[in-house]
Structure formats: C-alpha cells, structure tokens
Symmetry: C2
C-alpha cells in the first residue's frame, strides 16, 4: 500500500495512541466532576490546550476552544462571530476556494439576511488582494481565507490578507486545517488572525477533537448551547481521549515538523517532477507557494475518479480527486473552477498528500502506476 | 474504588474497545473516500447504524443520524426542528426537568422569538399531563420530555405524553440518554416519539458519537452546515471509531440489558434500603418508576458536594451531586427545585448510578461510608 490521501484521513500516530489510550481504558472521568478522577481528566484537557496553543504560539492557552471537529470549529467561527457582531454590520467575505464547511455556514447566514461575497483567486489559487480591498465596506464584519488549500495546496499570503482586513475593521477567520503541522504558524507574529481553525486528525490525532483559536477580545457566540463547557462556547462533555490525543499530536508536530516536512517535500518534489512527465498532465495550485506534502494534478481527457479507482484496485495506491467531503457529488470542485479550470478539466483532477509512511521509494512506483493508468484510461476514453 | 457515577461518565466496555480499536489503529479511511479503504469504513458506519436502530427498534436504520455528542443531538432535535417548522407555529414546550442541553437550545430559540413554556412535574418528577395538555395550542410545534431523568432516575409515561402531544399535532422529542440501554425502548410500539436522543458513551461506547432518531417524515434542518454527511443533517467527517464503538455498545446492550439490569437493580434496591436508614435521608425521584441502576438521595443540613469529596478522599467512592454538566456552578439543580425541594434541600443531593463493575459487596461498604460521612459532616455543620 502507498497511502497518499493524508488530507482526507490521517492515520493516528501510534505515539499519540500510546499517550492518549489511558483516557479510553482507565481514566474515563468527566472533567466537570469534582472527584479526583474527574480532576485528572480536567488536567489532561488543560495540558492539551497548552500544547495546541504552543503549536501556533498563541501566548494565552485560554484563546484555544476545543470543539468536536474542524467543521464545528468553522461553524463556530463563521456563524458564531457573524451572529454575535451582526449589529456592527451584515457583510461577510469568503474566498472562492474555501472548504465546504466554511462555505455552507456562510451560505446559511446569507439565507438569514447577511450579505455574502466571494473573493476571487488567481489561477494558482492566491486570493486577489485588490478584490478583497474592494469588497471590504464598513458593513463587513468577517472575512474567511484559508491558510492553505487542501485541494490545490496553495498557501495564502495571510499577513497581507490580515493587514487589509484589519485596516477595514473586520475580523479575519483562517481555516488552518490543512496547514497546521505542515508549515509554521505563529499567531503572535501573524497578529492579523482573529480566529483560526485547527483539526486534531489532520495533526495525527484521533477524530473527535478540533480547536478554534479566538484572539482575546474577539466576540463570538456559541452555536452549541448546553452545559456551558469551554467557557460557554462549546457545550458537551469533553472528549478527553481525542483532546489529549490532539494535544500530543500538536506537541509532536511542533517538535518534528521542520525535519519531517523537509523529508516529505523532497519526496513530493520528485513525485511532481515524475508525474508531470506524463503527457497532458499539469500541476494545480501554486508551483512554489504550496504545502510541502501536497501534490495536485490535472489530466486532460480522463476522469480523476477513474484514476483513483484504478490506482486503488491495481496498485493499492490511495489518492483523492478533491475534498473527500464533497467527493460523493458529481459536481466539479468549486476550488478548481475558481482557479479557472473548465468543468472538463476539473473532472480530471488527482490530489496526493504525503505523510510519515511515504518514502522516496514510493515515487517511482507511483509515477509508473500513474503513467500506466493514465495511458490505459486514455486508450479507452471516448474524449 | 467503587465507581457510582455511570450517568456522568461511563467506562468504555473493554469488548467495545476490542471491537472498535481497529478503526483507530488500522482502518483510518474517510467514509466519503471512494477507494476501498474508505468503503470499508463506510460499511462500519452503516453496520453501527443498524445496531443502534435495532436497540430502539426503529424499523428503518436510515432514521438514525449520527452526531458527535448527546448535546449535539439535542441541539439538532430542538433547534433543527423548531427552525424548520417555524412557519407552522412558534411555541415550544419543555418539561421542567430537562437536561441543560435541551433547556439551553430552547432558551436560545426563545431569544430568537419563539415562545417557550415549561411543563411542571410532580414531586416525583412525573410530567403533569394536564398541564401539558393545557400548554398545547395550535401554535405548538415541539414538545421535549426526557425518557428518564439522569438526576432523579424517574421514568416518564412517554406513551401518554406522546398521545397527548400528537393529538395536538405537535412533534415530540425524547431525550433517552439516561434510559437507553437501561430499559427497553421500542419505537415501533411507542409510535408517539418523533425524535429520540441516544448517547454512545452512556451505552458504554467511547465519547465522540451519539445519535438522533428522526421518525421518517419529520422535518428537521441541519444545525451544522458543511460537507453534508448524514443525509445533510450533520456535517463533518464521521468519527468511525466512536460510531463503530457506539454500534457495538448498542448490540451488547440489546443482548445483555435484561439480565444486567436485573442484577444492577437488585444491588440498587439494597443500596437504597441501607442508605435510607440514615437519619434525615430521603429518596429523590420516583420510588418505583425509576431507572433500574439509579439511586438518588437528599440529606438535610449538609452539602452534597461535601459528601462527594469525603467519599472520594476517604473511601475512594465516586458519586455525583446532580448533573456533571452543571456541577461547576453554585446554582442548585433546576431538576430538584422542579420537584419541590427548597434551595437548602437541593444542595444536599447525592446521585449514585450503578454499572457493570458494581457488586452486591459494594452495598455494605458504600452504606457504611455514607453513614460515617453524613455523621461527621453533620457534626461539623453550622446548620
């Protein structure tokens, strides 16, 4: 097996499991319970908060709110911030390549009377700063731009985005699900970020925990009322196992990211070089401003889905065609349309995201498999 | 250790862990991915759906929607149903002893212009059917009554409640978090239930999965927009480990509930008899219409919190004073006030919920510890 879909589902790091499994097997207390068994899980949650805060250098761990998933963090960021600040204005700007869990909460607000505008991107997926500036009005309360895009790997100029957004007096939400643990994020340096989404699973932790950084002073309301856990912002008994696992994954990422990403980038660069030798193959996303573990391609005259199934069946190679979150629809990816691909081109997309299990020996195997698969599929293609 | 807080945090059943751990350790695919590794996790999710559906005999597994927590299920049930049906009416009825994760979403709707009315209960916590009938108007779209209460153990006459609610043309939501796996629930027989909340952890599964049963035809809208998983009702990549664990826990509960609850009830009955021999001790909740694993008491002139801490420190016995979800506030439990206790009485509450680890040998130990603790605390009490 060569697993190249680390954007859709990261295997849980065995060291994370070794660290966190006691919260499944022994320490099952409720962090809100007052006896010792509860307090020990409370301490585990707070230790994890510290590790997640350290990974993105927030300064204050209390700025980290744990949620159940990156989707929930994005909902809290978009709906929770817009609803809380609606008296200041009702306009929201969202980049045209945002993840569906940012897009759909924003569209939900639009139905409730908010004004929603999409910021275009260039052919590499870089947000158009001039268009962003033009879209910002005194009515604009919130802008959402991803740190890096999970489908095309492009890393955005977040500092510039932050400066423009803050000059206009709006809040900036940044979905860092794909970026965190892959490239350094420093919220004390990058002080233009008001809200930042982090996913536990994307760091190598188990599913069931994610976080939203909320810069102190930024006003957000809960979108999950209940017992009032997480300073009233996210109700529900804390999933201590998943939170502790996210904390350990964040600690490992902070320590190992530089070396591991240098390693993965070297493999990825060779992979891109080899795959681009295939006829009518192109890179999607930015050639240099991209996540170090991320390679994404387009192939004319064939379907990405056919490539995916062939690679899985005949070569035991797992890749994606876009975001798994939308892979069960027949619609072409809105991200690929936003960077100017036609419907036909957008359907020929393949995304490969590397992880710890991948080695340089995989490159030749994958490139050969791709060449053979693309050749065979084009041979039977009616196009 | 004698752990008597199975309402706040259930230890994960080791058999559940043995069953589900492969979704942490090996099968990490995304159920929306199209390759085989994704499809195998998709099958695991659907198998779990079948087991959960079977536990409450829904007939159609598609009526089960997986969420991330019981809090989220209650939010989806209350906010999702009210918002979707607001054109039919804007009145909501909620029993006075509902869990805070039902109460707070209902209060949230009230702020948005819905009319919210609380249905009183008698001194045992049984919902007042006359008051319910009186509260039902053509404007009423939704009623929420718990199957059984987690703080006082009382089981509600849900069939009667369902009949009254349906005669008035409203929907009935039932929070069965505390009841499922403890007493039989049959949704084909009890056809007055439109929405039913189930918690994975309360069945002995890991945290991170819960479910909402939605009777076919009942209109509910998502409160978590995004990738559109779970038929568009709950976005976010499925937590396969937690969902598979919930499924296995449901399967074990369906098979073993009758025997295990008979066993726990026998222990519980002796525990209640022994504890009630303590001076000025009283049972809270219904003497017979109560969950078989549930014992709840009040003691005059002392604080439940002091009892809890003393039992933990000196006897390694873990109990609760009410719902862990609200135990970090100084407010007395709204449930205990609703059954007519004074503030002072409500502060002297202790809740014991039994589980698989408890044996008949625990009864004497706990009763002696209680007697000693209550005696000592009353000796130093200023009251």
């Amino acid at each position: 097996m060569v697993y190249l879909d680390h954007a859709s589902a990261m295997p849980v790091d065995p060291r994370v499991l070794a660290f966190a499994r006691r919260y499944l097997e022994e320490e099952f207390g409720n962090p809100s319970s007052l006896y010792d068994r509860g307090l020990s899980t409370r301490r585990a949650v707070e230790a994890a908060r510290g590790e997640v805060a350290a990974l993105v250098n927030t300064g204050d761990p209390r700025s980290i709110v744990f949620t159940g998933s990156a989707t929930e963090s994005n909902n809290l960021a978009i709906r929770g911030t817009a609803l809380r600040n609606r008296r200041k204005g009702k306009k929201i700007l969202v980049s045209a390549i945002e993840h569906i869990s940012v897009m759909n909460p924003a569209k939900d607000l639009q139905k409730q009377g908010f004004e929603l505008e999409f910021i275009p991107v260039d052919r590499y997926g870089i947000v158009d700063l001039t268009a962003l500036e033009a879209g910002l009005t005194p009515e604009t309360i919130l802008v959402s731009v991803n740190y890096a895009n999970d489908e095309i790997g492009t890393v955005e100029p977040i500092r510039e985005v932050g400066r423009v957004v803050h000059e206009a007096g709006a809040y900036l939400h940044v979905n860092a699900t794909a970026a965190a643990g892959r490239i350094p994020i420093d919220l004390q340096q990058e002080d233009g970020i008001d809200l930042l989404t982090l996913s536990g699973n994307d760091l190598g932790g188990p599913r069931g925990a994610a976080a939203l950084y909320i810069r102190p002073g930024v006003k957000v309301q809960s979108v999950m009322p209940g017992g009032g856990q997480e300073r009233g912002l996210r109700s529900g008994t804390e999933n201590v196992f998943a939170i502790a696992g996210m904390g350990e994954a964040a600690r490992l990422a902070a320590r190992e990211m530089a070396d591991e990403m240098e390693r993965e980038q070297a493999i990825r660069d060779r992979l891109i070089r080899e795959v681009l030798e295939i006829e009518e193959a192109g890179l999607t996303g930015h050639p240099t401003e991209r996540l170090p573990h991320h390679a994404s391609f387009r192939f004319s005259r064939i379907e990405g889905e056919s490539i995916l199934l062939n690679l899985d069946t005949f070569f035991d190679i797992q890749v994606a065609t876009g975001s798994a979150c939308t892979s069960r629809t027949l619609e072409p990816s809105h991200v690929l349309l936003a960077i100017g691909l036609t419907h036909e081109q957008a359907h020929g997309s393949v995304v490969m995201t590397l992880g710890r299990s991948n080695t340089v020996a995989d490159v030749r195997y994958v490139a050969d498999a791709m060449r053979e698969t693309v050749g065979r599929l084009r041979g039977i293609s009616p196009l």
